[in-house]
Symmetry: C4
Subunit: 354 residues, 4 copies
């Protein structure tokens, strides 16, 4: 997700155009691919609940959350990043949900801070704030040092390390040497002094990768599966060269669909903290993600528009999602998240058996 | 399905516009979702029957019916409700089928009687007439009293209580405290002195809900499943605010498809009286509903147009449905409803196995 | 398929318009429904055959046939029937395939002979000619007499009795008393002195109906399944009244798909002579029908256009079909019909199992 | 794939138009049929590999190859064939991949050499060059002689014999006597003194055909399955006569889909050298073909455009494919071809099982 220092001017411009593409929906492959439509809840016509009493509260990193939602990491061009981060931090505090900033590489390299400073934390004193660096940075000699600075600069509660091999492979100057990343994560866990979370960026974590990460001691994994933002689709639409676009095109639908990733990671690792993200469109999808095993549910592309706009717009967008999640619980007959994880799921358009 | 008293003027106007939306088909999600198309009858080229002798007669609530069909409950704006109810009652008598009126809440609160008076019964002396209230009204202190008045006002044979948690949750001032509804239904069954029927309004009754209702002593359940009118789709098209529309949108396909609901409720409760409704488009669908386990088959949206028009239009519409049901029996080789329940069903576009 | 005598003028006009609708394709529901596309042959890249030597010959009713094809029964309006029958008879002789005439009811009642006279036989001395009456005519007091005259009038090799309960039920003055038809067929078999074949007209014979017919002694069955001409689709497009059209509409896809009908009848009755028809579009479909168990394969709607045109047009159309059938055998590695019945079938778009 | 000598002028013109049709995409049936979309790799977010170190090298016919790709055999009209062959040979050398020339029949018959001479080998000294003749030529008295000359003329490393019964059957003057072809191949293997490879041309080799070929001693098979170029589709679009077009049309989707052909041939014959071709669109498809069991992956239609253009265009096109193949390995966590054959495959849009 990062620019090499020497390229940063050009790449910063490219990142601006990436934001525009994401906003225009270019990163999303057709909606029919979204795996969340393949199954549904069994409607409960007799909830025996008061909608107003449904308890969505949870906690993470020792802090209480009002709902099991998360603002997923997004870097942006420097021009807009500061505004976006400001709005998202204020909204996170108001909503009482965690906020993960985008990659801090550029800002740590001193080019532009994008608002990723001590002041960000002042906007959100009571909810988890998460740092973000790319896995490829870790294998640098100064990897742990960078990670520590990422956390300290914004006084974060934890550090997110993103795994994005496909994205790096499709980018002209991507970091494509991934040898030693797992040991580096192991080292980081021991050395950092703050919890480490590992995520993908839209191609999904498989159960076997999740298991290796759990064995390395990470505190949580975010599956960040396919079905939402596809960096390959974005590269295919607007790579720097014809050749780059051609290379990216058949990877537009590469990846583990989010529902499958959540369910299979949960099945493999019953006790790990799982964040479900990638293609979450609304609170019904969020409810399904939780039902399949997610502890928190993240969204990135879907809130970029509101984030550019204002703090209130982000709060309003999450307000809709929260209400949908609450109604999903109500109509599935689940009074809290624990109950939601037990309700029946049915195949959509399920083959009828007489 | 009801307006809070203090809101009734505004809501009455909204109900008028709901009727217009239903008439325009806005409540129906695309036809491909209709679960009835997933299976078909095995054609019988040698029926050994006289089409004229096919016996569709049945009985309900102690009264003989000519065919196993039901006019499902519909409230309308006060402006048109009286006309609709008049036409439907006359047609029910002529056709010898039961008629369930729409929610009586507004009329019981004295705002406008919508034709829901003693005179309605005079139009249909020999067939079952069913009252209608919402489940949320029951948990009011005066719940049983309201239920009793609903039955008495129109001299009904039975009372229908509708369960509509999703609809209430999506409406701005919906009744969303559903605690105590099951005990209230149990009380009602004991106290009312008339049979109690419980239905959904388009999201379906699951087998577990149906079992709880059966244990509470209800005389019949109407699954009112998904595949036909979707109140969420209507709210998504025309909620009062942008926010309401956004919240409703992902619920447009929420619910148990009618065929699945009928079959699974029947499997769970072999002896309960089951009404199959939700998305019935014609007499072939009706035949399939009966084959899957329905005792009666109801239609709402499909007859709203004729109901607004005239008594004759309703009779004509049902005439077509009845002829289709009769021909379905003939070509399935079934001489009566009992036989229809035994004929083979096949998957449509069934995977071919050589 | 027949007109009541007193209605014959009006109905003859209607039959003319039916021909026009069939020619315009109105009787065919969308091609995706055709069950023949669901499976395919395993290609044999090493046939070890000479295409020129592939032996498609067979025999029926004691007469040798060059290919296992049949011209299926079609009535037409009197205006064009004579021409059609003349062309088809000449083509049958030239092609050395059997020809089944359309219903002889109108011509036997003396209204118009449609070319269904002794002279027809003169055009096709060496191949089977089949008479045709409707099953409903058989239960008339004079049923067997009519059947006998149908055979004698054209000096037929056998009599086809068509079962068309759906078609009769959808027609305004259809024969809808089907009691006693099976015993009447049993009687006919004993009394007629010529083989009796029983067919549907596009809704399919199920295995249980086929078994009853076999027990009654019929010489062959023609499944005439769904996927091709649908009389309900024609009625829905152009019934006499709005009401008739509305009634017919949901029956447009009623029926047993031809491939399923052939395979299940063959499985139930390994030794009966089976004709596969209904929706055969070309020689690849014909090869599939034979592979599934058909002894002969019939086409109706697909040759109506050529039949109206000329004898040569019919020969040309069959020439294409025969060549396709021959190439199908070649590329399936089958040197004759016996071998074709043994080759592997695969699901089309078969789910890939790694 | 060949012209009878006496027809060669007319047929050469037809071949020119075939090239134009292939270039215009007329040979490809809609993309949805491509079986490669039905399954996908499990994404590996932690490859523990350096993209730069991924080893795609392999060897064939005793020569090292940089990647497991092959330029598949294509004849062209004489006007353009020489240019095409020149470009492809130069590109093969530069890319270090094998190149199979199109059918040598016309050139061996002395009409026009199409650049298929000793000089071709000079352009590609270090990589395998493959001759090409049709199986039907082998059963000629001079069959083995022709085969020997085909190899010698271009100093090939091996001879490809193509099996194309469907194509021959659909062509006006096709060779349709396929008796004795298998024994002729057996003879050829013994007599030729160079390895013999057998391929289809877009309809696929089944496991049973592959087994017969293996028993006959062939060195490798190329499944050349359906999903890419369809000669029937081309004939249907532009056969010489209306009749030819009509005959060809239902064969447009005839054949074994390439992924199925590869997987089933590999399962049947664990040790044979398998080339996977037919509908390969990019390096992700190529990776899937290898995963299913292919040793090399071939493309024809997809490189015709670049081949007409220039050597550089062919190199550029393969460069994209190779990069995609490399990234597929990287993101599947496979460091070489051996590892790629072990990674998990998942159904695309896999039914979700909760
Ligand atoms: C504009 C944009 C920028 C992103 N930048 C980062 C990043 O810097 N670090 C990171 O871990 N993920 C990044 N992501 C990935 C998201 O966190 C998320 O995993 C992915 O987009 C899938 O979620 P979605 O479908 O809701 O967008 C970014 C996503 C977007 C849309
Ligand atoms: C305009 C309209 C008003 C309705 N009002 C009521 C009502 O007051 N009470 C009730 O129990 N159901 C009501 N329903 C729900 C129907 O009775 C029925 O359960 C549902 O619409 C599914 O049937 P359908 O798909 O045939 O419309 C209403 C439906 C419509 C279309
Ligand atoms: C115009 C037309 C008239 C027909 N008339 C008769 C008839 O008189 N008797 C009969 O047994 N079948 C009749 N059929 C039915 C056909 O014989 C055949 O069973 C049916 O059309 C299915 O074949 P197809 O899909 O190839 O048309 C007729 C079909 C057509 C299209
Ligand atoms: C223009 C063209 C000419 C071809 N000529 C030959 C040929 O002469 N010999 C042969 O074995 N295959 C020939 N083929 C078949 C290809 O080698 C290949 O098996 C087939 O096209 C499937 O691959 P594709 O889908 O990548 O095109 C030809 C294909 C094309 C497109």
């Amino acid at each position: 997700m990062d620019a090499k220092p020497e390229m940063s001017a050009a790449l910063r411009i490219r990142k601006e155009s990436h934001l525009d593409l994401v906003l225009a929906g270019a990163g999303i492959v057709p909606a029919t691919r979204n795996g969340f439509d393949a199954f549904c809840f069994e409607h409960c016509a007799l909830p025996e609940l008061d909608l107003a009493d449904i308890d969505l509260s949870t906690e993470w990193l020792g802090k209480p959350l009002s709902v099991p939602l998360l603002i997923s990491s997004m870097t942006g061009g420097a021009l807009r990043a500061e505004r976006i981060n400001h709005h998202l931090a204020e909204a996170a505090e108001a909503l009482r949900i965690p906020f993960g900033v985008g990659s801090q590489r550029v800002s740590l390299e001193g080019e532009s801070d994008s608002g990723l400073t001590h002041r960000l934390r002042d906007l959100m004193p009571s909810v988890p704030l998460l740092s973000n660096i790319g896995a490829a940075q870790l294998i640098d000699a100064k990897g742990i040092d960078v990670a520590r600075r990422a956390v300290e600069t914004i006084r974060a509660d934890a550090l997110i390390v993103h795994l994005n091999p496909l994205q790096e492979a499709l980018q002209p100057e991507g970091d494509t040497n991934w040898r030693g990343i797992l040991p580096a994560i192991e080292q980081l866990v021991l050395a950092l002094g703050a919890p480490v979370v590992v995520k993908e960026v839209g191609a999904g974590l498989s159960p076997s990768v999740a298991r290796r990460l759990a064995d390395a001691g990470v505190a949580a994994v975010d599956v960040a599966g396919s079905g939402g933002t596809s960096w390959a689709a974005i590269e295919a639409a607007r790579g720097a060269t014809e050749r780059q676009r051609a290379i990216a095109q058949p990877f537009a639908d590469w990846g583990l669909p989010t529902p499958q990733a959540i369910a299979s990671v949960r099945a493999a690792l019953p006790n790990i903290f799982v964040i479900g993200s990638g293609g979450i469109r609304n609170g019904v999808d969020a409810a399904k993600a939780i039902r399949l095993g997610a502890d928190l549910v993240g969204q990135a592309a879907g809130i970029l528009g509101p984030a550019l706009d204002s703090t209130e717009a982000v709060i309003e967008a999450y307000g809709v999602t929260i209400e949908q999640l609450r109604i999903s619980c109500f109509c599935a007959g689940a009074g809290d998240l624990q109950a939601l994880r037990q309700v029946p799921l049915l195949p959509a358009n399920g083959v009828f058996a007489s």
